[in-house]
């Protein structure tokens, strides 16, 4: 198979992209989907398992009420319809990540159907239609041992930990997203970002893409421009950051175009995304093995959410994201463009939480959108995954407000936080970052600066206030940059008045 990549702009001259996004969300319930084992992350291997999630004979699953409630709330927040009656189904396949030899899922009767989510890219709104969202269970974690790469191919054997098997999952599936053209990669990213924001607001999941509690599969195909048809698709699995969603779409568009330009056919297969290079490689071929022989799960009775329950849940939904965004823009006094940037950076919730901790909207925006966005970019991670919390940002800003830190020193505190040097106060102590605010100590440094540069002092006495810069510089140097420049200037002008 040729692997010629066509430059992105040239792809668009000849082809229309179609995308389909499948997002798996692990719910943050206390227990698993069908048994009372803890659904927490990070336990000792095989310490959170029981006969039900191990698929031992005679065990019987029972549905977690909270998981159904979360599924319905997600459906309502995505403008979806809630099934009046639906069943679970067995998806039969042989792979040791499920000890039962089937995954309990839903087939043609998902609990949520016909929803949509409006997403915005560069001021333009795209409606992403959601075909369905269904309930299922997560699989166990396999580790491949031996072989050259540790990946599955070439492995000698595999080790399985079933702690994750049975954790409630909601899979949210879009209809084909058409007509996004050049914006396709951004629309894909914006959709996953908007979905993440909604799930965060609902409080139903940790939605940590880096930890796998939210995972995205990207389906992509190209069709000849204007043909209105759908081409053969590939499915890139487990794309695990917002940035990667965008990159995976972009890469697959270029790769597909290369194959089609050469007159060859796209091979329908799953692809693995490589975070380091931004490329994909061939995975499993779609084949007969995808015949999962679904049938209704006989051990679980149907789920028929009463309309009263659904309406109760609808009434208790948090504010819609679009409404919230509009409200906060007014409350915070941001311009349209500022708000758009904040939204695109995934900083809305972060700024909201920072403001809730006492920082002003302007200072919260300044730290998240300048300093911290830059750090996130440098590291290739999302702002929310940077490791700096809204509480910390608010704490630092409080110290700036109290003139204990200058902006410059505050930036060093953030450096320390990113380097994992401890809490805000530990970093200030360890790095000796507190501002010299004692007028006595500052006064001595100012006197020294005046004495060492008499010519400059004379100019200032003569009314040339701009000359104070040289003396301020000397004081800042003498205090190791820990003085408040504004206060130093005041002191100099007072003394030379």
């Amino acid at each position: 198979m040729t692997e010629t990549l066509v430059p992105f702009d040239e792809v668009l001259e000849k082809y229309d992209p179609a995308m389909g996004l499948e997002v798996h969300v692990e719910l943050n319930t206390n227990t698993k989907m069908f048994c009372g084992c803890p659904a927490t992350f990070g336990g000792e291997p095989n310490s959170q398992v029981c006969p039900t999630c191990l698929g031992l004979p005679g065990s019987m699953p029972v549905v977690n009420a909270k998981a159904v409630e979360s599924a319905i709330r997600i459906g309502l927040a995505l403008n979806g319809k809630i099934a009046e009656w639906c069943r679970f189904a067995r998806k039969n396949y042989f792979y040791p990540d499920m000890p039962k030899n089937f995954q309990t899922s839903q087939y043609d009767e998902p609990i949520v159907y016909d929803g949509y989510l409006d997403v915005e890219v560069e001021g333009e709104t795209y409606r992403v239609e959601i075909e369905r969202a269904h309930m299922e269970e997560d699989t166990g974690k396999t580790t491949h041992i031996g072989g050259a790469t540790g990946r599955i191919h070439g492995a000698d054997y595999s080790l399985v930990d079933y702690n994750r098997a049975g954790i409630p999952l909601i899979e949210i599936v879009t209809r084909p997203i058409l007509g996004a053209g050049a914006k396709a990669p951004q629309v894909a990213k914006a959709y996953v970002a908007a979905l993440r924001e909604i799930l965060l607001g609902l409080g139903v999941s940790d939605v940590r893409m880096d930890q796998g509690s939210m995972r995205c599969d990207v389906n992509l195909s190209l069709a000849p421009k204007g043909s209105g048809t759908l081409g053969t698709r590939t499915e890139t699995k487990n794309v695990n950051s917002l940035r990667s969603v965008e990159r995976a779409v972009r890469f697959e568009m270029s790769r597909h175009a290369g194959i089609l330009d050469a007159g060859e056919a796209i091979f329908q297969e799953t692809r693995h995304f490589h975070e380091d290079t931004g490329t994909t490689s061939a995975g499993r071929a779609k084949s007969d093995a995808d015949d999962y022989r679904y049938f209704p799960e006989p051990d679980l009775v149907p789920v028929a959410p009463s309309r009263e329950w659904v309406e109760e849940l609808r009434a208790s939904l948090p504010e819609r994201t679009a409404d919230k965004r509009a409200r906060l823009q007014v409350e915070w006094g941001y311009s349209e463009l500022e708000m758009r940037d904040v939204w695109a950076a995934g900083a809305l919730s972060l700024i909201e939480a920072t403001v809730a901790e006492g920082a002003s909207a302007q200072t919260a925006r300044k730290w998240w959108m300048a300093e911290l966005s830059r750090s996130a970019n440098d590291r290739g991670v999302e702002l929310a995954e940077l490791g700096v919390t809204p509480v910390q940002v608010a704490e630092v800003q409080k110290l700036v407000d109290a003139k204990t830190l200058t902006d410059k020193l505050a930036r060093q505190v953030f450096e320390g936080l990113l380097a994992g040097e401890g809490t805000v106060s530990e970093i200030i102590d360890a790095r000796g970052l507190a501002v010299v605010s004692d007028d006595g100590a500052l006064g001595a440094a100012v006197d020294e600066a005046i004495a060492s540069q008499p010519a400059v002092a004379e100019k200032i006495r003569g009314g040339n206030q701009a000359a104070a810069g040289a003396l301020i510089g000397a004081v800042m140097k003498a205090t190791g940059g820990k003085a408040d420049a504004k206060r130093v200037r005041e002191l100099i002008l007072e003394k030379l008045a």
């Binding site: 009372g36 084992c37 291997p45 029972v62 040791p96 041992i145 599955i152 080790l159 399985v160 679980l300």
Partner: protein
């Protein structure tokens, strides 16, 4: 009348990871055909007023509160495993079936 071909039996055997010889396929295909025919005669008895039924009990919404119950210990969980390593189930290598 539903019909099951020898090819379909081979396909199902493949999906179920059952290695069947040609002789076994020749033998099993007609037998499965007889079973299908028997089920079909029952299907013939059901009129349009009888809906397809997966769950005979008139029950829905059997739920459990989201409350943690004790799990097995890792030792108990792994006690029936043919092979254990690093407190995990050790299984033969699998190629090409990753989900």
């Amino acid at each position: 009348m539903p019909e099951i071909t020898r090819d379909e039996v081979a396909h199902l055997a493949d999906l179920a990871r059952i290695d069947l010889s040609d002789a076994e396929l020749d033998h099993l295909a007609p037998q499965l055909q007889v079973i299908l025919e028997s089920v079909a005669s029952i299907q013939g008895l059901a009129g349009d007023d009888v809906p397809a039924t997966s769950h005979p009990l008139p029950m829905t919404n059997v739920f459990r509160e989201d409350v943690v119950t004790p799990s097995l210990t890792p030792e108990q969980a792994l006690s029936g495993a043919p092979s254990v390593e690093e407190q995990r189930f050790a299984v033969p290598r699998i190629l090409g079936d990753e989900q």
